[in-house]
């Protein structure tokens, strides 16, 4: 009788530990994981090999039921919403730096501001290079470090840019000709310090991610300053690097220093946060990119964890 009991205990112990280690291995080793309780799903791991491996992913955008990710290894990878790799292409040069934003213009081309090469690259969604323009300089029609791109309802291209004598929003027409620019170094209203991304909503309000000043600024298309977002309160932003507009018109800001995505209303009211610091699904380490698809999926480029996270937005 005692023997039987001992035998049973041993059996439980053995199988139990096997199960635990299997679970553990699975949790650690696998690339993708999901956290059913919170709704987050994450894929990706560090590497420069096949699809689904990243080296510091920093730019992310959703288009046509696909997610485009650019990372520091000079690759642009395309996945479906479940993280299944579709295709990859390489940008021409990346030793000095890589694009920090991805945009899609009216013709459905992929526009990449190639930041440290002071130019803009354009590709088809299949990865065929279509155009490349821009030269180094602080003058009009020239770039120092273009970081983000957005289009207004008229089809003008707005680029956020930074550099000495180039802290500005740079506006071009569809033929890449200079239209106007505004902005200067500083921390007052309308002054920028390393603008890393730009968004324009359906009402033509321009949102600029003013990273160095840890805030979002609102302008109209002419550059008139409308207000700040996220620079006040205990949950103030700490070096935001990217932002995205939700289908309901709210703003999702990727907070690099706070390791979270903060949702704001258009008027600057802090609604809620998505994600927190850490390592699992829904946990970020220095995220640099965020995007929201038209059907309400939130994607986050979690840079230091080398993963992409996905979640359905709460209604």
């Amino acid at each position: 009788m005692e023997d039987d009991l001992r035998r049973m205990n041993r059996r439980y112990f053995f199988f139990g530990s096997m199960a635990l280690s299997a679970l553990g291995a699975g949790a650690v080793g696998c690339g993708s994981a999901s956290d059913a309780s919170t709704g987050w799903f994450a894929w990706g791991e560090r590497g420069t090999g096949g699809g689904g491996t990243f080296r510091a992913p920093r730019a992310i955008a959703a288009f046509n039921e696909e997610v485009y990710v650019a990372d520091r290894s000079g690759r642009v990878q395309v996945f479906d919403y479940d993280g299944v790799h579709q295709r990859t292409w390489m940008i021409p040069r990346y030793d000095k730096g890589t694009p920090t934003d991805i945009g899609f213009d009216a013709q459905g081309r992929v526009i990449l501001p190639d930041t440290h090469y002071s130019r803009v690259l354009a590709y088809t969604t299949e990865g065929d290079p279509v155009d490349q323009w821009g030269e180094y300089g602080t003058g009009v029609n020239q770039f120092i470090y273009p970081t983000g791109v957005a289009w207004d309802s008229q089809g003008l291209q707005y680029y956020s840019e930074y550099g000495v004598d180039a802290e500005r929003i740079h506006v071009f027409d569809a033929r890449n000709q200079f239209v106007r620019q505004w902005g200067e170094l500083g921390n007052g209203p309308g002054q920028l310090n390393r603008a890393m991304a730009i968004l324009i909503d359906a009402d033509d309000t321009v949102f600029v991610v003013d990273t160095g000043n840890s805030r979002i600024q609102r302008f109209d298309t002419q550059g008139r300053w409308l207000g700040f977002i996220g620079d006040q309160g205990p949950d103030r932003l700490r070096y935001p690097y990217d932002a995205a507009l939700g289908p309901d018109g709210t703003l999702f800001v990727c907070d690099y220093g706070g390791h979270t995505i903060r949702q704001y209303s258009k008027t600057g009211e802090h609604l809620r946060d998505y994600g927190q610091p850490g390592r699992g699904p829904g946990r970020f380490n220095c995220p640099r990119g965020v995007t929201v698809s038209a059907d309400g999926w939130l994607f986050v480029a979690d840079t230091e964890n080398n993963r992409i996270h996905r979640r359905m937005l709460d209604a």
Binding site: K96, G97, H116, S118, Y136, T138, I144, Y145, Y162, G163, V164, D165, A166, E167, L185, G186, N187, Q191, N193, R194, M196, T211, G212, N213, S214, R238, Y239, Y241, Y256, G257, C286
Partner: protein
């Protein structure tokens, strides 16, 4: 090799008769099984034999018939290459012809300055090309013989064959041979002939060791030639850092010695080396065609004046020259780092030279030159000197009469430095972050303040807060912990703001921020920039690995606008130096820039002439702390040293904390006594060498340089207990040119001797210093010239020595026809006692023999126990069968346990009945029935039933036993018939 036993007491062997007796006794034992009995008997015999052998004093004698020969080949430079090859060939022939016995071994040792085993002794030795390298500049045959004796294999007869020309330069081969012979080694000799060629050499070059300036003296050269010939004689002079050719003449040499005389005159003081070189065509060995000698000139002192800021201080040099002081003016790059070169000067003046411009060698040599060579040092201030120039904790600080650390001041002028580290963008950046943090920390003194910022996991954070440096250990630990975690900073604005806030609130005199980055982060906002400028906080920036010129622009603008410095760095190795330079800028708080009148604190000889009229005003100085035993001649209005001096070791040093430019001494330059004051200071500090009555002799003997001092005073009496010191420098300069000490010991009244190793040929500078009876420190510079090695002096082989060696080694002079492998050596057998081994063997076997006789092992019981254990493991169960109990070991005297069932008849008592009697079983059943009835009926009748049953049972048992004994045979037959 053959062995045989020997016995010291052979008659003890009679005891061996006990052995057959013990066998006979043992055979009679009946209580043991066969195996055990005979094992025990054998063992007993062995033990007895061992004991008897031990008692008889058993020994083992060995005689070996094997021979080992070492050929020692002299490969020094006195033997020409051809003759050396011939000797090698001779060895080969010996081995081929005579190494016939397969047990004989031969080896080769090559000797020059060292001895080295080329081939260890082996059978059938074949000498290929010689691979060992030995320095041919010397011949040390004694070492070779020692090596051979030590390296012979054991158990062989031993012979050494020495192939040499007999010209040894070190050690005594004759003495070693005698020792080898005493150890049983025979030494034979094969002489190698040398010479017979035309040869010229420099036999001698001599110059007087001490010469007065402007006094003519002779250089005497003696050249020796074997035949008449013609040649060219050149004489070189090396002194004060330069080498020049003095004379180059064509000469006619006659066979024998030829002398030449040269007249020379020297003006400047210093150490001069003369080298003579002879070139002729009638020459075989070129190495002996040169010679060296030296002369030391004592003249007027020469002062080296090192100017750190040549544009601004043109005043002092001409002033001193006008006073007749011999000055050599150089910039910082002209300051020599080695002691050998600093020797040429009697004083060194450093004016406004920062420590960051001097290498560690400089700093160390300058200290040692004051202490060991007696050279004077004057350090003149400026805004980049003393504490503000980074001299804190340098060796040279020890030689100065002031300390760089400022103590005893109520309001300490301190500096504050904040470093912003954005280093993660270049390779090993974070490791460099640690290095530069440490480099900055090193320069700061305990009351300065430092802080470090970076973008860590929580965002812009302090690696350590701006705080007093203290003992630096805490900051070092924090740096080490946090440097690895430095991350990519989005904008310098955040950290710069934190640095500004901290610095604005601290009370340091000088505040600086230094940023290292790639320039990519966003720059500081204009409001912050203007705040920094208003608070006079300068920001220096270091740009490394920028992405574009724009990045550099961000950093250089920041530096320019705030009054800091901008550095563009490609090689990270320069980073620590940049940071220590920047950190030392913070020490500028050590300066006071105010007009004041220097007051005389001590009327020392430097200032005594100006007691009445005083000194003109000064406009600034660097704050220092006086050392306890220093003389502080002038002080400032706040009591800080202005002019201080003291003795350090053999020399003296002066510190003057203002400068000699119009910045801080505008009233001094036109002062009428300016020149006089400084000339007096220089003369005071300069090294002196008064005339000495010591006779100093240097020579080379046995590979060492020897110094001997004969100390007599003016009356010719011995001077004892002088305690002189000496230091020498190796020719060649560089880091070897730093001085090394020679220990001088008094060996006789008035005589002091010492020795030091000399390897390189050339002139060694030797400085001897002592305190004369009047208390003055005297320094006597002298030297030692080492010419070519004696190896090159010989023109013929040393046959007499070789004959003596052969005789001492009980060998002969061998020719080609002699056999070095002849087994004609007298050999003594070697004896080794073995009785103790036999005794130990007997002692060990004794308990075993007892064990075998007495102990009964239950092997099957052991097997059962083991099997039971093993069967507990489930998998083994199928392999190991259930052990069956088998018959135990029995002796003759009966069983230990009842016999097992199969081998004997089953005694089934139950139903065996005797004739006419009820069977056992029936009795039992009946009695049981009875007893139960009785028990039910009468419970009180206790013992009755039992006694009935017992007696009945006993009766039945007796009957059936009898029955069985009788019936055993019949039942056996029954059984066997049943089985068929």
């Amino acid at each position: 090799m053959s062995y045989w036993p020997r016995f010291v007491f052979p008659w003890m062997l009679l005891l061996l008769l006990l052995i057959p007796w013990s066998v006979w006794i043992g055979a009679r034992i009946r209580s043991l099984g066969t195996f055990r009995k005979w094992t025990a008997i054998t063992l007993r015999c062995v033990i007895l034999a061992c004991l008897v052998g031990a008692l008889a004093g058993a020994e083992l004698a060995k005689i070996n018939d094997r021979l080992a020969v070492y050929f020692i080949l002299d490969r020094s430079n006195s033997i020409s290459e051809e003759r050396a090859q011939a000797a090698e060939e001779l060895i080969r022939q010996y081995c081929e012809t005579y190494q016939t016995n397969k047990d004989d071994k031969a080896g080769v040792i090559v000797v020059g300055e060292q001895a080295s085993i080329e081939i260890a002794p082996m059978q059938k030795m074949k000498l290929e090309k010689i691979l060992s390298y030995v320095n041919g500049e010397q011949t040390d045959l004694a070492q070779a013989i020692r090596l051979a004796v030590a390296a012979f294999p054991q158990g062989y007869m031993r012979r050494i064959v020495l192939l040499t020309d007999g010209n040894e330069t070190r050690g005594s081969v004759l003495e070693e041979t005698k020792l080898a012979q005493a150890a049983g080694v025979t030494v034979d000799v094969v002489p190698i002939q040398i010479g017979g060629t035309r040869e010229t050499r420099i036999k001698e070059i001599s110059t007087p060791n001490q010469v007065a300036a402007d006094e003519p003296f002779h250089i005497r050269v003696v050249a020796n030639a074997t035949d008449d010939c013609q040649g060219i004689l050149r004489v070189y002079q090396k002194g004060r850092g330069e080498r020049r050719l003095l004379r180059s003449d064509e000469v006619n040499l006659q066979a024998g010695d030829n002398s030449f005389l040269l007249t020379q005159e020297l003006t400047k003081s210093g150490f001069y080396e003369y080298e003579v070189a002879l070139e002729t065509e009638a020459d075989t060995i070129p190495e002996n065609n040169s010679g060296r000698s030296f002369s030391v000139v004592q003249g007027e002192p020469v002062v080296l004046y090192v100017e750190g800021d040549p544009d601004n201080s043109a005043a002092l040099g001409p002033a001193l020259q006008a006073e007749g002081v011999d000055i050599e003016r150089v910039g910082v790059e002209g300051l020599p780092a080695s002691m050998a070169e600093l020797q040429n000067y009697d004083a060194v003046i450093l004016s406004n030279v920062s420590a960051t411009e001097l290498s560690y060698d400089h700093l160390q040599s300058l200290e040692l030159m004051v202490r060991d060579l007696g050279i004077g040092l004057i350090m003149i201030g400026g805004d980049d000197t003393f504490g503000a120039g980074g001299y804190l904790n340098t060796p040279i600080e020890k030689a100065l009469p002031v300390d760089m650390e400022v103590k005893d001041r109520k309001i300490l002028p301190k500096g504050a430095l904040v470093a912003i580290l954005h280093t993660c963008e270049f390779q090993n950046g974070n490791a460099w972050a640690l290095q530069i943090g440490l480099a900055s920390l090193q320069v700061l003194s305990y009351q300065d303040m430092m802080g470090a910022l970076g973008y860590l996991s929580g965002g812009d954070s302090w690696i350590y807060q701006l705080q007093t440096v203290g003992d630096k250990s805490r900051m070092t630990a924090l740096l080490k912990k946090s440097a690895q975690m430095i991350g990519d900073m989005p904008s310098v604005n955040g950290t710069l703001q934190m640095a500004y806030t901290a610095l604005a609130n601290c009370d340091a005199a000088v505040k600086r921020i230094i940023i290292i980055s790639d320039g990519d982060p966003g720059g500081p906002n204009p409001t912050l920039l203007s705040d920094l400028i208003k608070a006079k906080i300068s920001v220096s920036t270091v740009c490394i690995s920028p992405h574009s010129p724009n990045d550099q622009l961000m950093l250089s603008n920041l530096a320019k606008n705030t009054g800091g410095k901008y550095y563009y760095v490609t090689n990270p190795r320069t980073l620590p130096q940049i940071f220590s330079k920047e950190a030392s800028v913070v020490k500028r708080g050590m300066m006071i820039e105010k007009e004041f009148t220097p007051a005389i604190k001590h009327a020392s000889e430097l200032v005594s002439s100006y007691l009445d009229e005083g000194f003109p005003n000064l406009h600034g100085y660097v704050i220092t702390s006086p050392k306890d035993s220093a003389t502080i001649a002038l002080v400032s209005h706040e009591g800080d040293p202005v002019l201080a001096h003291w003795r350090y070791g053999l020399g003296k040093s002066i510190a003057f904390t203002p400068d000699v430019t119009t910045r801080w001494a505008p009233n001094w330059l036109p002062w009428e006594h300016f020149r006089q004051f400084w000339a007096q200071a220089v003369r005071w500090v300069v090294r002196q060498a008064p005339a000495s009555n010591m006779r100093i002799e240097t020579r080379v003997a046995e590979g060492q340089g020897r110094v001997r001092i004969d100390a007599v005073d003016e009356e010719g009496k011995f001077v004892n207990f002088l305690r002189p010191q000496a230091a020498y420098t190796v020719p060649g300069g560089g880091s070897e040119g730093n001085s090394n000490n020679v220990e001088l010991v008094q060996t006789a009244p008035g005589i002091y001797e010492g020795a030091f190793p000399v390897e390189k040929s050339g002139a060694y500078m030797v400085n001897i210093s002592y305190t004369d009876p009047e208390g003055r420190d005297v320094i006597v510079p002298t030297g030692l010239a080492l010419g070519y090695s004696r190896e090159y002096e010989y023109s013929s082989s040393n046959y007499p020595l070789l004959e003596k060696v052969a005789a001492a080694g009980v060998g002969r002079i061998l020719t080609l026809n002699d056999n070095p492998f002849a087994h004609n050596l007298t050999v003594a057998p070697s004896i080794s006692p073995i009785w103790h081994i036999l005794a130990i063997l007997a002692a060990c076997l004794f308990p075993i023999e007892i064990f075998i006789r007495r102990v009964v092992l239950d092997m099957s019981g052991l097997w059962i126990a083991v099997a039971g254990l093993l069967r507990k493991l489930r998998p083994l169960r199928q392999w190991i069968a259930e052990p069956q109990r088998r018959a135990p070991v029995t002796g003759r005297y009966g069983s230990a346990s009842p016999p097992p069932p199969e081998s004997s008849v089953t005694h089934d008592y139950t139903d065996v009945a005797a004739e006419g009697e009820p069977s056992f079983g029936a009795v039992i059943r009946e009695t049981r029935a009875e007893t139960t009835q009785k028990a039910e009926a009468a419970t009180s009748a206790d013992g009755q039933g039992h006694s009935d049953l017992t007696s009945k049972l006993l009766a039945v048992k007796k009957r059936t036993d009898k029955q069985l004994r009788r019936g055993k045979d019949s039942s056996d037959e029954d059984k066997s018939s049943k089985n068929q």
